[in-house]
Symmetry: C2
Subunit: 463 residues, 2 copies
């Protein structure tokens, strides 16, 4: 028996035959994510329990086979892509909601629960879990935790980091760690919970999570403000974030987004629109009406073209329609897209948007910018035709300039998409040598054989 | 020249003579904290910059002399007490507020800034930093970060963990790490920021912090509910925490606290009072009045004796007077006090309080319980006379039972006071062998010579 066949036989024995796929045709769909990259796993294993995962990790250590933890592969940064000899460890069969505890404001879930399914179950109890990535209907809570994936609501309610109380994790040495607490306070020992949140599967595999849940607000209002200048929109963002009525969403679209949307549907927006803000507010009925009026005043500017308020869900969907139409439209017009996910301090948004416009001109590319303005988190989309070699080269050069611009503004290279394989070679610019060395040391002490998602997040060790 | 004198000469050279104390009379006050323990440091060094601290760490590594990081020594768990051969590294001269950035909702501070001074400076801009320990007037932000110290406001606004964006830390190997971001989102690399928050100086010395700040609410209302039973109070807590109007303080006092207060001042509270809740709500004027009415309804119970609402600051101070009188009163009646700081899920508060009453009876001790009920964080005070050997022994046995009770209820041993030397020998009960091993591994990789606050937090390595 070859070593590979020995490994697969042991894997079936440890994981259960019903939990292992080895046929390449079955395995191939598990080797990709939404980055467009793909690899072929040696096998796909469906995790069923912390004990089973621990057995698998020990086996993979013995055989020096890597493990790629996987939710549903909706990530865009290549974190779930198979590189080299690796099995995929999928959470899709660990998809139970274990407990919803309203009085104690927590729930416990397995990692494969879909974000949207969890939100539906919580809503029946009058609660929600704040992280709301746009892929909520088909991404897993485990994946959200691995990337610290957020979404529009983070501006008021925080990211997974602020909404996770405890984790069960099988780390790279095979140990099962029960980290954190079931309470909103707890200071016993180091904060391992948040060390694992955002670690992209490079330290261990999450087998259960205790999540902090929040009561649903009674009412929600939406505002949409159309401006004839970027300055007007970004100044409004700064004013709104400087006062106590924090919106539960504060979304931005730039002039390029407006132009692309109008090309498809000229009636969607007035011709003079150069920037859009969509602002959601929630709270009790009395509070939210007063807050909406106050925020509407902060949104005022001489370049304000139109301000619409939605008082019910149908009107709100109408106001959000331009934002929802955007991603399909971007996919339609450009076969190639470098989708960055940068963050700058809110007050630097005007500098970021103007800087990006200048880079678009310099590199003769179309750059469409939109995103979570209240967090300063902008999705920067470099659109190009990958069949055109000079455009591809221009996009690569432009990306380099975009990242320089972001760091020069005191920002960070990723707000919620993560590093994965796509940004791995850039993060040293942000973190520096000593911070990277400390991260590598921590990786080594929890995963001594480097079997947990190797080649992701941390750059290659310098020779 | 002896080795010790060589070390001191080098220390003066590295730190600057004006920043070093060596006279034992000068050094002694820096060797204690609010735990009652005390040690004599080899020297006291005043930190002035990250570079200076890095030089000192390298020197201490060379000489195998420990470093005890110190704010103002207001901690109660012995974390800042000198054990063995150690210098104290004090943050008290690094006390500048470096930047207050209202538009971007952050401030940058040196570690020695007093919490109260920071709050005053922020209030002038209409902002605050949520952590509000009762020692706010004389504790440092660096100390708050080291212990993840919170206070009443945490129930709505979170602890330092949720309110810190980035840190500069000199770790035990001498490297200077710039961790985190200036934005509310950021997912590049492992979350070192929160690994340092709550690490009690055992990984490094914080030289600067970027803190997330929050706009001050326009209005605040206080409610005080007096109950004739514990059940009525704890059921009200559960109902209040299950709905969206989260209070900005939800404080509890038990029947023993009431009795001790009434012994000193019979007019302070009605004789039948067995439990007290104090509830603060904040928000915009319209919102806070409506929320106060709603929460008042949730506080209703057939055992509700009296419900008072304060509509201005003077009335609010009146409602809080019993709570403020409590700590001095406890100090007055019992020379010995074991001051625990446990947390249980909110729904288990009745079981905790009844269990503590049973333990008080069994061990013939007085136990007074009060604290931050909205977080399930109760300060359990075992009162005894240390001159009485049998009482002291009973207190020690009782403490053991208290910790067992807390863990049996799914709780944690400390919510905000930290582990230090006082709870170090107990945390293995909560964390287990594998979690402690992972924490030790992380400590070793950032502080390979174990010079950063050794003997604190983590139990001795098993032989």
């Amino acid at each position: 028996m070859t070593k590979r066949r020995q490994f697969l036989a042991a894997l079936v024995a440890k994981a259960g035959a019903e939990n292992v796929l080895t046929d390449p045709g079955d395995c191939l769909p598990y080797g990709l994510d939404n980055s467009g990259m793909q690899g072929l796993p040696v096998a796909v294993v469906f995790a069923t329990s912390a004990a089973q995962v621990s057995h698998i990790v020990h086996l993979c250590r013995d055989h020096q086979i890597a493990i790629v933890p996987r939710g549903r592969g909706s990530g865009t940064s290549g974190g779930a892509v198979v590189l080299g000899d690796a099995i995929v460890l999928s959470s899709e069969r660990m998809n139970r909601i274990l407990e919803i505890n309203r009085a104690d404001r927590y729930c416990r879930v397995e990692p494969g629960v879909l974000n949207g399914d969890l939100q539906s179950a919580l809503a029946r109890h009058g609660f929600f879990w704040p992280p709301d990535p746009s892929s909520a209907d088909y991404c897993t809570v485990g994946g959200n935790l691995a990337y610290n994936s957020a979404g529009p609501r983070a501006v008021k309610y925080g990211t997974p980091r602020e909404n996770t109380l405890g984790l069960s994790v099988v780390i790279g040495n095979g140990n099962i760690l029960e980290c954190g607490v079931r309470t909103t306070k707890g200071v016993v020992g180091y904060d391992l919970t948040r060390l694992f949140v955002g670690s992209e599967g490079t330290l261990g595999f999450i087998t259960a999570a205790t999540l902090r849940i929040t009561p649903l607000a009674k009412e929600k209002r939406s505002l949409r403000a159309l401006y004839t200048s970027i300055e007007a929109a970004t100044q409004a963002v700064t004013r709104i974030m400087g006062q106590p009525d924090t919106p539960c969403a504060l979304e931005f679209m730039d002039a390029t987004c407006v132009r692309l949307l109008r090309e498809a549907n000229p009636d969607l927006l007035p011709a003079r629109t150069r920037a859009i803000l969509i602002i959601d507010l929630d709270g009790s009925p009395a509070a939210v009406d007063a807050a909406t009026d106050r925020v509407a005043r902060y949104a005022k500017h001489e370049d304000l073209l139109r301000l619409n308020t939605a008082r019910n869900q149908a009107e709100s969907q109408q106001l959000w329609s331009a934002r929802k139409a955007l991603s399909p439209r971007l996919r339609e017009i450009a076969p190639g897209k470098l989708n960055e996910d940068v963050v700058v301090p809110v007050s630097r948004l005007p500098d970021l948007i103007h800087g990006l416009d200048a880079l678009a001109q310099r590199h003769a590319l179309c750059i469409a910018n939109f995103g979570h303005a209240g967090n300063g988190n902008i999705h920067v989309n470099l659109l190009y035709d990958p069949a055109d070699a000079s455009q591809s080269a221009a996009a690569t050069r432009c990306l380099d300039d975009v990242l320089k611009l972001v760091l020069s503004l005191g920002g960070t290279l990723s707000g919620e998409h993560g590093v994965g394989t796509q940004k791995r070679d850039f993060i040293h610019r942000e973190l520096g040598t000593d911070v990277l060395a400390a991260m590598r040391d921590i990786k080594y002490c929890l995963d001594p054989d480097n079997i947990m998602n190797p080649g992701k997040m941390l750059p290659e060790n310098p020779a």
